[in-house]
Amino acid sequence: MKKYTQDHEWVEIEGDIATVGITEHAAEELGDLTFVELPEKGLDVIVGDKLAMVESVKAASDVYAPISGTVKESNRELEDAPGLINSAAEQEGWICKIENFDVVEIEDLMTANQYTEFLAKGK
């Protein structure tokens, strides 16, 4: 199951793991990313907490937790290659994986179709 937030994060749940990143749209708006501040393993977050920070040539922006839980691991490859988010924001450009979550929390978030509609409305 993959869901989207109004702050342009995505979260995909597979079994016990929720993978989190920023959307392709967000990556495109930010432009070339130059730095990603990743969360530490073991960090407990609740929905809306600052999870990470992404910085581009245009702006720096916080990434908020779309789901509550514990950070299991962060995508260390982003440290040397933040551009992964530009080339594949919703695949290799994932930011972190979260465990110990409650899937109910993301039921109200947007589906891919709803997110596309949400973006269209904003334009």
């Binding site: 708006e29 070339d32 245009k58 702006a59 551009g83």
Partner: protein, 487 residues
Amino acid sequence: MKLVFDKGSPGRTGSSLPKMDVPDESRIPQSLRRSTKAELPEASELDVIRHFLLLSRKNFGLDTHFYPLGSCTMKYNPKFHERIAALPGFTLLHPLLPQLRRGGALTQGALEVIYETERLLSNLLGFKQFTMQPLAGAHGELTGVMLIAAHHKAAGETGRKVMLIPDSAHGTNPASAAVAGFETKEIPTDEKGNTDITALKASLDNSVAGIMLTCPNTLGLYDQNTREACNLVHEAGGLAYCDGANLNAIIGRVRPGDLGFDVMHINLHKTFSSPHGGGGPGAGPVGVADKLVPYLPISRVAKRSDGTYALEYNHDNTIGYIAPFYGNFSIILRTYAYLLTLGREGIPRISENAVLSANYVRQKLKNHFDDASRERTCMHECVFSAARQARNNVHAIDIAKALIEKGIHPPTIYFPLIVKEALMIEPTETESRETLDHFIEAMIEIAELAEENPEKFKSFPSTTPVGRLDETAAARNLDIANLAGQQ
């Protein structure tokens, strides 16, 4: 262009020194001496003169080009103030002099300058007192929010940890509040470009320490809810902070202290005619209402009953030292000269002409770019969106490069963040109608080119010493020592 290190030839010097005729019996111990030779450029005086003169001719600055960099108030600084600031009576003063015995008598002029500038700014902006200490705008912000923290602490209200900040405020505001230990909460902007009062009301409780409003805000608009926002925050027990970086829009027309603000920083390097850019030095004095006076930083300049001036350090509730000595004194001096040059009649004409210039540009360009000013009269700057051009793959950055191609400094781009593809243009009051018309013409040509030949933009700029820089690579592979260039 070659570095000065790559010029000249081995052994060449700028001047021939006579042979040393005293024995080299330095008492500097071996451990403190350098073990390898210093690598200095080996060049003649003429090599060096040509090097730096050529470099200076490649400079792109306010004294050579129009510089409408929004939010930065890049206005012309009259050279008269530079002359005042260069007077040896000021430049040769040692900063420790007023603290030496009888030194105070030798520094009365300098102390008077600080005292009088504080007094003039307090009158001009409606505050009880000013501190001239902060060394930059963000330093002023930090000082301001520390004063707010001191106020709540003294009142025993240690639970007030939240600083409210509209999304149309300067980006440094949340940073300053966070550095001072506050949590920040963003307040949205309503459809008119004002602080959203409903959202503000919903955020008010006894955890709120205050609100930081940028006045006018980063949309270049005067926030029509300023008074109400200040009142609401006061009723909830918080204080109101004014970011005065955009003071050029309202100076001499409205006194922020009268609107209900308790504390405000201003940027002398923006509004008050002191050098700006290239790393400063800046100055961000802070004005406060009565209730915050006890917490002002030390030292403070006091006027004694006999008319002489002295530095004071004994204030029990002060937040203490925030900077060495007395602030950036020579910047304060330029401000004093600027205030006295313009006087009561001249100062309101700053904002009058700054606002007129911005609205002139806005009216002339609003059919060519999307107007982000929400159908309102803008203040000292106008904000457009290049969203229309972006559909042809010409983005704000490409428009900036096209302006450089035409010998004009670009406006601020991608800020404010709440406007897509933002172009923030601040012409200032010191530019002539002809310069503004030249800029407008250039912008219209660029808008037309974006329709006709969008591909062309990728080649800009081609008329500059260096072409399109790879900003991404520069940020990802930072190389300030030019190691790659030396390999």
